[in-house]
């Protein structure tokens, strides 16, 4: 029973999405079904997470043994990602029942939302490289429609860039799979991991690895390929942006970590590429945030900047650096989604997210502001909040391996993050409001209590989760150590998939 259970998160979201199709125009029914679906999926993900702690869960689809059939694998890393995705999707799902206007919901917002989450679960759970491609496509086609839904002119402009870059990334990814199949004759990731070291033509293997890196790099927005993100992520409504920024770029990072720890063992050259790109991503992302007046644009560049930390950890490529990467990934998914939802609330309160026209939120909403302050502090990494611990690991490992340029870039990016967050705090919350607050502007105060609750509750939950990540760091670090150990010793994964030896 337990092996089939691995597909539960995927199936729950699929069934929810199909049910939603039957209630196409009925907004209230859609909201209720979506929340129920999310809760059930969350419960399934918690069970899956607990079950995957001691064993690898492996499902051979259709009973075809690996390497012939499609395999689904849940190791610690996958189960962490699945659990975090479930938390984010549950909270964003509740948030979007109020935050989105009715016309978007009528055009099938929740339906697409659940297909997107289904695709993400598939990406995290699959153990087959072509299946990974298919799940990627499920995710990006849902995200295309979500991005263009209700299209205003600005949204269309962002969408053209987003669609083009993502389709290009898919073609590059597909090319890489084609070449990989040509040289190894298999698609199963564990089987690939065995066959790759025996290939004589090392040059072709490196080229394929770089093709994978380019494909995933476009999706996760690393340095030379990031420009589509700031020009499209500020256009959709904040609920959609929260899913995108919390989950979609992290999907690219997940695939990158999986491919470069399991299938390819990066050589000196690829590690140098990683480090160079991490440095550039950190610096350009940080510089991009400085002159932004709109909070949403600032966030877009912060997403790019913080992807740099993850790539940096991969470039150092030691077990401790991986601990940092995984910890940072967990922290980042929660905090980024939370911040984007907060931006949505600020917009509800003041009708604008331009920092020059904002102000005085602290005197009007002191409790809400304190909640937001906790989130901002954990983003910056004030100890003992969640952003602090992974950075310690990354600093330490960069120092130990003598990557002083990288160390400088990491410190620089942290400092700039602190600077922009402090500026945002003083502009939005402390500065007196530039124009008097009238009843018409504040849409938030006019909401009914239940609606206010639906907006504030998700933020509170995510803040509590990030507080837990910060204060319960010992548990999280143990988890991250375990994950990093599994990632750096792929033989465990290979044994589990090919020989059915699933105990850790």
């Amino acid at each position: 029973m337990m092996t089939n259970f691995i597909l539960a998160p995927i199936f729950v979201h699929m069934i929810t999405a199909i049910l939603l199709l039957f209630f196409w125009q009925k907004v209230q029914a859609q909201k209720i079904i979506s929340i129920i679906g999310n809760v059930v999926a969350f419960a399934a993900c918690v069970l899956l997470f607990r079950a995957a702690q001691d064993n690898f869960l492996i499902l051979h689809a259709g009973g075809w043994k690996a390497p012939f059939g499609i395999t689904f694998v849940a190791d610690t890393f996958s189960s962490i990602m699945v659990l975090l995705t479930a938390i984010v999707s549950l909270t964003v799902g509740i948030y979007s029942t109020v935050a989105l206007n009715v016309s978007r919901i009528k055009f099938g917002y929740f339906f697409l939302f659940h297909f997107l989450i289904m695709g993400l679960m598939g990406v995290f759970l699959t153990g087959d490289i072509f299946n990974l491609y298919v799940w990627f496509e499920v995710v990006i086609i849902s995200s295309f429609v979500l991005l263009t839904l209700g299209g205003k002119k600005m949204q269309m402009e962002g969408a053209v860039k987003y669609v083009t870059m993502n389709m290009l990334a898919s073609v590059i990814f597909l090319t890489a799979i084609g070449v990989l199949y040509g040289i190894t004759g298999t698609l199963n990731m564990a089987d690939l991991a065995i066959k790759i070291p025996n290939i004589q033509n090392k040059g072709l293997v490196s080229v394929t690895a770089l093709l994978f890196f380019a494909g995933f790099g476009i999706k996760s927005a690393v340095f030379p390929l990031y420009f589509w993100l700031p020009s499209s992520y500020h256009t959709p409504p904040s609920a959609i942006a929260a899913i995108f920024s919390g989950l979609l770029t992290k999907m690219g990072i997940y695939a990158m970590i999986r491919v470069f720890t399991l299938i390819f063992t990066p050589d000196e050259f690829i590690l140098n590429v990683f480090i160079g790109i991490a440095v550039m991503t950190l610096i350009t992302g940080a510089l991009g945030t400085i002159n932004k007046r709109s909070i949403r644009r600032l966030m877009s560049y912060l997403i790019v900047c913080h992807i740099g930390y993850l790539i940096a950890g991969m470039g150092i490529y030691t077990e401790l650096a991986m601990v940092g990467v995984i910890f940072y990934l967990m922290h980042d998914m929660i905090v980024k989604s939370n911040l984007l939802m907060i931006t949505g609330i600020i917009q509800k309160i003041r009708e604008t997210i331009d920092m020059q026209r904002l102000g005085g939120l602290y005197s009007d909403y002191p409790k809400l502001s304190l909640l937001i302050a906790v989130v901002l502090f954990s983003l910056v990494g004030i100890p003992p909040l969640s952003g602090f611990w992974p950075k310690i690991y990354l600093f330490g490992e960069a120092f130990k391996s003598g990557q002083y340029l990288l160390l400088g870039a990491i410190i620089f990016a942290s400092f700039i993050t602190l600077f922009v967050v402090a500026r945002m705090w003083s502009e939005v919350f402390w500065k007196p409001s530039p124009k008097p607050l009238t009843e018409e502007i504040d849409h938030f105060a006019q909401l009914k209590f239940i609606n206010k609750f639906a907006l504030i509750f998700p933020i509170t939950v995510l803040t509590l989760v990030s507080l837990y990540i910060g204060f319960g760091a010992e548990t999280i670090i143990n988890l991250a150590h375990k994950t990093a150990y599994e990632l750096m010793n792929p033989s465990l994964y290979i044994e589990a998939v090919l020989n059915g030896n699933t105990t850790k």
Partner: protein, 113 residues
């Protein structure tokens, strides 16, 4: 076949670098087809050996064509069909809102920082 893949990739990239949106779309299409043929090619071409076990035998007695690349290409074609359909509608919508086929007409958003 190798030449064909090369031509499709280079033509696709070239068209994507043009300013026209329609050419961008055609470029993406050509790239997708190029990738499909690449998979077909790298999967190994075997002539006239279908992967079907003869009724008299229990297992394969001879070398046979690999069916996996064809399954992959079929999947990829279906996906690219859906993506293309979406992209066409998107570009039509953009054309309706901006009234232009020129991609440079989209670059107005950096005005407000």
């Amino acid at each position: 076949m190798v030449l064909l893949v090369g031509i499709l990739y280079s033509a696709g990239i070239y068209l994507m670098l043009r300013r026209s949106m329609v050419k961008l779309l055609i470029g993406l299409l050509l790239l997708g087809n190029g990738a499909n043929i690449l998979i077909f090619l790298t999967g190994g071409l075997t002539k006239g050996k279908p992967p079907i076990i003869d009724s008299a035998e229990k297992t394969f007695v001879d070398a046979y064509a690999d069916p996996v690349p064809q399954a992959l290409i079929l999947t990829a074609i279906v996906i690219s069909f859906a993506l293309t359909a979406f992209a066409i509608i998107l570009l039509k919508k953009v054309y309706e809102t901006t009234g232009s086929d020129d991609l440079d007409s989209l670059n107005i958003q950096d005005l407000d920082i």
